[in-house]
Amino acid sequence: MLRETDMDEEKAKRSERNVAVRVERLRKTYNSVVAADDVSFDVHEAEIFGMVGPNGAGKTTTIECIEGLRRPDSGNIRVFDLDPRRDGYALRARIGVQLQQSALQERIKVWEAMELFASFYSRAADWRALLEQLGLTEKRNAAFESLSGGQRQRLFVALALVNDPELVFFDELTTGLDPHARRAMWELVRGIREKGKTVFLTTHFMEEAERLCDRVAIMDRGRIVALDTPENLIRSLGAENRVVFTVEGPFDPQPLCRLPGVTRVETIGERIVVYGRGDMVVVEVVNALASKRIPFRDLRTEQPNLEDVFLTVTGHEMRD
């Protein structure tokens, strides 16, 4: 518990820091499609800011307006006090960008791409170290077209960091990465923050948003529908913890219902789900089962997570 509070305070302190990106009333339409509608938020310096949302929610549109690659219909965007449309070149010298969709020349080699992109900036990181960090050293002589999806993704992340940017955008950071590469990428992103730099990422993995991001914005149909730390978002849901286990034979849920903190008990065949609030619910349930000598197996607890928040605030159905 104490650690949790510490972390919250730490995050609160971070959020008092300077603003790296300020978006005010951003609106962007494509013909009849409203991709971003009255979007306003700040990204603070030295935080990992995440944006999640269903397909077509407007994440890429928003991020590319901030990068100066798309022209908003209206609204105000400042990045380090620069206007992405007016001061685009100055801005792009200071930021790093990994686009959701892009490519390199088919026959360009990994090291050539790194060297070429490094030459576009006056400030450059050590690109050999970046390749090493992203596990691409062995592939340095491979042509872009011969790389696998995940290797391409890692190369694009390396390219986004080639100018040692103060602020880096990752649009779908870990799409296409295997679990190892994903964990390694999280470490890399945390390392960027430790150096006092800011990360703005989008993701479809709720676990990633929850574990990696200091603050998360949930976007749906062109609007930001929630924005807070993952902990606060989950807490605001007011959802119960669940204790799930399996019993054999007949089971009477009544005694469990009367336990302190328990709100209700669901029986689905042999599977029992106990809903409750507070951290003592698990202990109460286990004690009750033991004292009544009810044999149970596969007991686990489920906390509400960002996925629940996501599903609640964006609705359940798939759409586009």
């Binding site: 792009r92 892009s102 390199l104 020349q105 360009i108 050539e112 030459s119 576009f120 390219l159």
Partner: protein, 246 residues
């Protein structure tokens, strides 16, 4: 400037790594010259004013290089970079958009010049070219011709929706032009065909290069210069209005 240099060098390497591009820009015109050269040789022919067959045709083969490189290759590269998102990625850096396009023009110009140089060197070594025109006249004509045809390539890359359609349309434009302009076919074309050929840019390229290469004066080629310069201006305007990065 450093970015332009680096990008141009890289694109040059990539061009040379593409066997099809190298073959069609550098190898194919050479093959045509050697093929016809081995058939007809380069003995002086009275009808050609004492020049030989290869002397007569080398400006046409140069026009062929300009066409394959400037029209087909340029349109294909530019439209496929757009379609795949190569330009998108480059625009997310501090690179200026004109630098990205200038690199393509430079690479294709250098390759076109290399294609011409190969023809001239091999032509000289094997057939002993007799060309009276001075380099001071031929080179500006070559530059003007290249840029006009590049302009056409850019227009195709701009107005065609996909890389595939840009490539196809560049070939549809190029191949008939190659045959009708007199750039590869040694004999004079029928009167009517010649009249139609007057609307083809490559015809003017062939006539301009041939005239100056054979020692003619600029004043005798105002029509070609006017046509190609006009084409260049129109193409620049049209591509500027229609070019899309993605």
């Amino acid at each position: 400037m450093r970015s332009l240099w680096k990008l141009t060098c890289m694109e040059m390497k990539l061009f040379l790594r593409d066997p099809a591009a190298v073959f069609f820009s550098l190898g194919f015109p050479l093959m045509v010259m050697v093929l016809f050269g081995s058939m007809f040789g380069n003995r002086p022919i009275r009808d050609l004013g004492g020049k030989g067959f290869v002397d007569r045709m080398i400006p046409g083969y140069t026009a062929m290089v300009i066409g394959t490189t400037g029209l087909v290759s340029l349109a294909t590269v530019v439209s496929s970079y757009r379609e795949k998102g190569v330009f998108r990625r480059q625009l997310a850096t501090p690179l200026r958009p004109p630098v990205i396009l200038a690199a393509q023009v430079l690479v294709h110009f250098v390759m076109t010049a290399a294609g011409m140089a190969i023809l001239v060197v091999i032509g000289e070594l094997v057939y002993g070219l007799r060309l009276q025109g001075s380099l001071i006249n031929v080179l500006p004509a070559f530059v003007l011709s290249s840029l006009s045809i590049f302009g056409l390539g850019f227009v195709l890359a701009s107005v065609m929706a996909t890389a595939r359609s840009a490539q196809t349309s560049s070939m549809v434009v190029y191949f008939p032009m190659m045959f009708l302009s007199g750039s590869v076919i040694p004999m004079p074309l029928p009167e009517t065909v010649q009249r139609y050929a007057q609307v083809l840019p490559l015809t003017h390229v062939v006539n301009l290069l041939r005239g100056l290469w054979e020692g003619g004066a600029w004043s005798a080629h105002l029509k070609e210069v006017g046509f190609l310069a006009g084409l260049l201006v129109v193409c620049v305007i049209v591509s500027a209005k229609t070019f899309r990065w993605e």
